[in-house]
């Protein structure tokens, strides 16, 4: 941990990539998950790349915009990274809502994939 904090650029670029995909075409998110991945969406769990992409694609909105306010990244032993994102989102014409998402990233061969993902909407809009 004393050397360059590589987890920061990795985390940041993953997050940027993730929300870009999410906003443009959610079905493409299968690239960031693997078969062993698990998504916890508002307390419900979905396991495996296919189930996760199905859940995300089936969310009831066409258009979604994310605005990220806070990001933090920490390294975990055994080459994992945990990334935290807090921000606001607007789905279709709904009011803006806050959200909080955590990603657990792992290095598989040369790429970084998300092995675990947790999403929660905030009760109200903050900031």
């Amino acid at each position: 941990m004393g050397d360059k904090p590589v987890w920061e650029p990795i985390g940041s670029s993953f997050i940027q990539h993730y929300y870009q995909l999410f906003g443009n075409d959610r079905t493409q998110l299968s690239a960031v998950y693997i078969d062993a991945s698990c998504l916890t969406w508002e307390g419900q769990q979905f396991q495996g790349k296919a189930a996760i992409v199905e859940k995300l694609s089936s969310l009831p909105f066409q258009k979604i915009q994310h605005s990220l306010m806070v990001q933090d990244h920490q390294p975990i032993p055994d080459s994992f990274i945990i990334s935290m994102v807090v921000g606001q989102l607007k789905a279709d014409e709904d009011p803006i809502m806050g959200f909080h998402q955590m990603f657990l990233l792992k290095n598989i061969q040369v790429a970084w994939v998300c092995t675990d993902d947790m999403f929660r909407l905030a009760l109200h809009n903050f900031g």
């Binding site: 920061e8 806070v70 975990i76 993902d117």
Partner: protein, 560 residues
């Protein structure tokens, strides 16, 4: 690489393996094993001759750098790779190595095969050397049956049946033993082994053991007590010669509730009393009393963590045991966190852990008062550009983490309203996020309610507790709904209980009236209702009452 053969106990016999380089050793070794197998000894079992102890059947197993590993972890790991159970004899640490003895050739060759099969925490493979050896010290110098009998009688005299306590203080100078010229020096492996053997046979339910004043300078021999008398809860090691708290690690498999250590050189190695207590408690998390003094409530979790850390694909939502473990951990964690003294938290932290926090404001002045105190520590990678500060704010040593947590404002968490998401479980790691609210209990923002989301990444800690390797905290102002529902704060309203719902038009009237009069919505509504929803009349009544000063100040909207 240390030359194992410098060790005195290895004698040069025709069967020993003599070489300095690993590769050569392995190949010679293989030849040797083949030879043994072909040699097949005659029908008798490989029992050693207790009188002279010099047989070809003992093997010394050495793990270089074994000093890094906890004895039970190491032995369990090795055992799990062996097809048949074996009994390690005289396990001890010497310099950087861990060593023990085994008795038969089959076990020896199985153990040799385990070399490089076990991975430690740092993903390094553990190397195991096995050499022929003379019998271990405790076997070579085994007490004669007559001596054992006398020792047993002496110990019986020192045993208190009602308390299941054995008092072995100053055992060497016990008159009965001295009278018969029996020298029970507990530092010596053979004496300690004999004592433990008697305890195992005669006092297996032992609860309390007093080893005060026996000049003990190491606890390698005592470490076997974990198997022989696992129920011991009270241990007195006072007035011995233990130089470092590291020795205690050798007996940390005992679930001690009371420990005496005063009078040992190790006591003066600590800067202060709390560092001493903290170090001892790291070893024995369930400890209630140290040197006769009661300790504050321990952080204990009563579930065997080895059971729950399994990759459970079937019941992925988390077993009940896990949920229980996490909730129990959170209760204990927050009781210390809210207690005003966060110095008790180190017990759940490894030496290298991570902590950082963030708030959703990037400039100190844009942050509301309640969050100002967190601003200094806030690490928002989106906006924080200073690399030095980025590094600083990611706390990564136990000391740093505890210091920064202790500097955060004093809190009171509302544990009844927390929402916990357990979102990742692997064999060795558990991630869970806690969403909830807490109150500031002192200082300028006293009483303000803040909301948080805190993500913990935990690994099984020693003695069935959780060890937090990562901790990420996000703090924000709580919303009015969150503030109201937390801590069960009652909300006073003016509206009566049987309120008919308002029509769209009526709602619009209330909004307009409120905007014009400056009164809060409830008050505006009441005024309109009292005047049968006649807007003009309500307005006149309002103006009249206001001039007369009959409307209380609380009716009006606060200027925010």
């Amino acid at each position: 690489m240390r030359d194992v053969h410098k060790d005195q106990q290895l004698r040069h016999t025709p069967y020993s393996i003599r070489c300095d380089r690993r590769m050569k050793w392995h190949s010679e070794d293989e030849i040797c094993i083949t030879t043994w197998r072909n040699r097949k000894p005659p029908g008798r079992k490989m029992r050693q001759n207790t009188q002279d102890g010099y047989t070809r059947n003992w093997f010394k197993v050495t793990i270089p750098y074994g000093i890094k590993y906890d004895k039970s972890w190491l032995m369990n790991s090795i055992q799990s790779h062996c097809s048949a159970p074996f009994t390690p004899v005289d396990f001890h640490y010497i310099r950087n190595r861990a060593c023990f003895f085994v008795q038969d050739a089959t076990t020896a060759s199985v153990l040799k095969d385990v070399s490089y099969k076990i991975c430690d925490d740092e993903n390094r493979k553990i190397c195991i050397f096995v050499n022929h050896s003379t019998a271990p010290y405790s076997v070579k110098n085994k007490l004669k049956p007559g001596q054992m009998e006398m020792l047993k009688l002496t110990m019986n005299k020192r045993y208190n049946v009602s308390q299941q306590a054995l008092d072995l203080q100053n055992l060497r100078f016990d008159p009965d033993l001295m009278g018969r010229d029996i020298d029970i020096i507990l530092n010596r492996r053979n004496c300690m082994a004999a004592t433990l053997k008697i305890i195992e046979r005669n006092f297996p339910e032992l609860l309390s053991l007093n080893l005060c004043n026996n000049k003990l300078y190491q606890l390698d021999g005592l470490s076997d007590i974990i198997e022989k008398a696992p129920k011991v809860k009270t241990l007195n090691l006072s007035k011995n010669k233990l130089e470092s708290a590291w020795e205690l690690g050798k007996v940390k498999g005992l679930k001690l509730e009371e420990l005496w250590l005063e009078g040992n050189p190790l006591c003066s190695t600590f800067s202060d009393q709390s560092a001493y207590v903290s170090a001892i408690r790291d070893c024995f998390p369930k400890l209630l009393r140290l040197d006769g003094r009661e300790l504050s409530a321990p952080m204990i979790v009563d579930i065997d963590s080895s059971e729950i850390m399994k990759p459970c694909k079937e019941n992925f939502t988390g077993s009940e045991t896990l949920k229980h473990l996490v909730l129990q951990f959170l209760q204990q964690y927050y009781s210390i966190y809210d207690s005003g003294d966060r110095q008790g938290l180190p017990r759940c932290l490894p030496d290298e852990a991570c902590f950082s926090l963030a708030i959703p404001f990037d400039a100190e002045d844009s942050a509301p008062n309640s969050l100002r105190k967190y601003f200094e520590d806030s690490r928002n990678m989106k906006t924080l550009k200073d690399p030095h500060l980025k590094g600083e704010l990611l706390r990564h040593t136990k000391r740093d983490i505890v210091d920064s947590l202790s500097a955060l404002p004093k809190t009171q968490h509302d544990l009844s309203s927390i929402l916990v998401d357990m979102w990742c479980q692997t064999e060795w790691m558990l991630c869970f996020s806690v969403n909830g609210v807490f109150k500031e209990v002192e200082g300028q923002s006293q009483g303000s309610v803040l909301a948080f989301t805190r993500t913990f990444i935990a690994t099984p800690g020693g003695s069935s507790s959780l060890c937090i390797v990562n901790d990420e905290l996000f703090v924000r102002d709580a919303s009015p709904q969150e503030t109201q529902s937390a801590f069960s704060i009652p909300v006073s309203t003016l509206s009566s209980s049987s309120e008919p719902s308002l029509s769209q038009e009526q709602q619009e009237m209330v909004q307009a009236f409120s905007a014009q009069s400056g009164m809060k919505l409830e008050w505006s509504q009441k005024c309109l209702q009292d005047n049968e929803w006649n807007y003009t009349r309500a307005g006149q009544v309002f103006t009249m009452l206001q001039t007369e000063g009959k409307i209380p100040a609380e009716a009006f909207k606060q200027i925010s």
